[in-house]
């Protein structure tokens, strides 16, 4: 195992070392000690390695991740796993706003709660939040799946496109053009797989599905009040 202590080493040095790992690396396991809320920690990785961060992180941890499995043993600041491409990012605590923003692939698991705008503009990522999510989550979400085991705040899925939203608890309000949709067999199967990957034994049938009404896809003056 490779161990890097951010109390004595520089962030640039750590990121450069992680980014230098290739597909065939034999340095598969990394541990980061004393993250001390550092920003931009473990960003731009592109190798099948496991990175365990022993504490809380600042902004944009695991940004643009490809392939790597990154675990945060603490809480994560804003923009966790933003624009993630693939791999897995898991935070054991809570995540601040914009978690998984614009993510294109991979799996983001938040064991605690996520703040506002979770999954904003998501483009293919799967996000599973074991707790609650804040307001304006999945705003303009384009693709991918957002699963929430707890409650969702105001304006869930405002102006969303083709992303699928699954919520087990209460939804305070839905955003423009977001509606509840029928939970069909294929959705239950998808949800079951996502829950399993995220380490949850929740029952898929307890969830409700939300998605786009597709009424705002092309401008119509009679929908002007929705904008």
């Amino acid at each position: 195992m490779q161990t890097f202590d951010l109390q004595t080493g520089a962030l640039r040095e750590l990121n450069a070392a992680l980014q230098a790992q290739k597909d065939d690396t034999n340095q598969k396991l990394w541990e980061v000690e004393n993250p001390r809320g550092s920003h931009a920690l473990a960003v731009g990785l592109d190798a099948p390695i496991d990175v365990r961060i022993k504490g809380s992180t600042g902004y944009y941890c695991a940004g643009m991740n490809k392939q790597a499995n990154i675990t945060i043993e603490g809480n994560a600041g804003p923009g966790l796993a933003e624009n993630m491409m693939s791999g897995t990012v898991m935070v054991e605590g809570d995540a601040s706003q914009y978690a998984g923003a614009t993510g294109r692939g991979g799996l983001l698991v938040i064991k605690g709660n996520a703040s506002s705008r979770c999954g904003i503009s998501m483009k293919g990522i799967d996000i599973v939040v074991h707790g609650n999510i804040g307001h304006m989550s999945a705003f303009m979400a384009q693709k991918g799946n957002l699963v929430v085991l707890g409650d969702a705040g105001d304006a869930l899925g405002d102006s969303l496109y083709e992303a699928k939203l699954f919520v087990r608890g209460e939804v305070k309000s839905l955003g423009a053009d977001c509606i509840e949709k029928e939970m069909r067999a294929e959705h239950l199967k998808l949800l079951s797989e996502l829950l399993k990957k995220a380490g949850s034994d929740a029952e898929p049938r307890e969830f409700r599905r939300y998605g786009s009404a597709r009424k705002l896809y092309n401008f119509d003056i009679d929908n002007a009040s929705a904008y």
């Binding site: 920003h39 931009a40 624009n83 614009t102 503009s121 496109y161 896809y217």
Partner: protein, 443 residues
């Protein structure tokens, strides 16, 4: 008392209202009939104070000029010297502004890359990701980081020679991108992760930061991902240029790109284009002042865009303190946009050459702002690239001509003292004396 012969009584001439002009009335009728605001491409069309309102003084007794063709007048520019390991080195002080694939056809993006590379300058992606046509033909490519993040990925980020974080643009400060359904074909939809044929309205704010404090951290992330190798630009629309420039410097920009209201867009509301923002001329001096107040003028480079057409415009922007300029609309015209040879087709579309601005409809007869495969074929990217290269070289020669006439051996040595203004407004905005006086309004 009346004329005995009533047929000789002079008639009142029908008078059109200045307020309710034929154009205004036509727009009212169009809005009433369709229920949608007018959307178009391009920049502000109204008359605005501009570089034409400035003149160079030229050398005489107090300064001596340089000999044209014999004495060197440098044009090279380094952009991104503040933090980046590899600053952008341009042979000429003119770059190609960000324009998206989607808004423009693949051949048009290729032509921009070819022309810019041949002339020794950079080109810029847009709100649609990086295409192979553009990357492959651009020696130096600036990758835009936009609120929509369409097509954004770390591989393209690392293939870029610079990154431009777009906060706003001159045609619509405070507004997001727009691409209507006609142009969202399969390739464009895939690149943007959107369903085909929808009206795409990009966000006007970035999804994962708000304000300059957050942006500072966002820029740090981008630098960490790219190994602090490439410059990071911040592009702002010409709204509050002093504060926007100062905050961009605070956020860590290597380069500030400042786009005035004549700067074009692929598509947005006409009301936005004509009524939001400030003319380019009014934006430059406050931005330069902000850089000077922070001790960062020439350390953080300033690129100005919005209505640059001639070498005189280039020279005037540089004299006011810019390090380089950027062109979009003029580059498209050089490629062949709005060429009178397509007049019959412009007429069929209800427009005329020079006025055609329905770029969002994707029916461009010149094959530039379209995704129609048949129309696209009309643009030969090699020939169009050559035209752009020629035009860029002419702009540079013109700029050098004026710099030499003012006694400068490098275009970046042009200074406000080389200029006077023809109007009080231009004198106030450019902060140079009104012609024939030593008066600068407000000074």
């Amino acid at each position: 008392m009346t004329d005995e012969n009533e047929t000789n009584i002079p008639k009142t001439v029908p008078r059109q209202s200045w307020t309710f002009s034929p154009e205004v009335n036509a727009e009212i009728r169009r809005a009433a009939a369709t229920g949608i605001y007018d959307i178009r491409g391009g920049g502000a069309k109204r008359h605005l104070p501009h570089f034409d309102d400035l003149l160079f003084l030229g050398a005489s007794m107090s300064r001596y000029p340089l000999e044209g063709y014999r004495e060197t007048c440098g044009t090279e520019v380094l952009l991104g010297t503040r933090h980046a390991k590899n600053p952008i080195k341009l042979d000429i002080p003119i770059t190609i502004a960000g324009m998206s694939f989607g808004s423009l056809s693949g051949p048009a993006k290729e032509a921009l890359g070819r022309g810019a590379t041949d002339a020794g300058t950079s080109t810029t992606t847009g709100d649609g990701g990086m295409t192979e046509e553009e990357r492959g033909h651009s020696k130096q490519l600036v990758y835009q980081y936009l609120p929509s993040r369409y097509g954004m990925n770390p591989d393209d980020l690392r293939r870029a020679d610079a990154i431009e974080v777009v906060v706003g643009q001159g045609a619509k400060p405070g507004g997001g991108g727009m691409l209507l359904g006609q142009k969202i074909n399969e390739r464009v939809a895939n690149m943007r992760d959107l369903p085909e044929g929808i009206d795409q309205r990009s966000a006007c704010r970035h999804p994962d930061w708000t304000g300059p404090d957050d942006l500072e951290i966002k820029i740090m992330e981008l630098r960490e991902i790219t190994g602090w190798r490439v410059p990071i630009y911040i592009k702002v629309g010409g709204a509050r240029p002093y504060y926007d420039t100062a905050l961009a410097v605070k956020a860590g920009a290597d380069v500030v790109v400042l786009d005035g209201m004549q700067g074009g867009t692929a598509a947005t509301q006409d009301i936005f284009i004509e009524h939001v923002g400030q003319p380019t001329l009014a934006c430059i001096r406050p931005a330069v002042q902000a850089l000077q107040d922070l001790g960062m003028h020439r350390k953080v480079q300033l690129v100005v865009s919005g209505g640059i057409r001639t070498g005189a415009d280039v020279a005037k922007a540089l004299a006011l303190g810019a390090d380089a300029v950027s062109i979009g609309t003029a580059a498209l015209i050089a490629l062949g946009d709005n060429d009178p040879k397509w007049e019959a087709e412009y007429q069929k579309l209800g427009s005329t050459a020079g006025a055609y601005d329905d770029w969002h409809e994707g029916k461009d007869p010149a094959g530039i702002s379209t995704q129609d495969p048949e129309l696209m074929k009309r643009l030969d990217p090699i020939a169009a690239g050559r035209r752009l290269s020629n035009y860029l070289k002419v702009l540079t020669l013109e700029c050098q001509t004026l710099a030499r006439a003012c006694g400068h051996n490098h275009v970046n040595n042009l200074e406000p003292e080389d200029l006077c203004a023809l109007t009080v407004e231009a004198a106030a905005m450019a902060q140079v004396p009104l012609a024939g006086t030593s008066w600068i309004p407000g000074k």
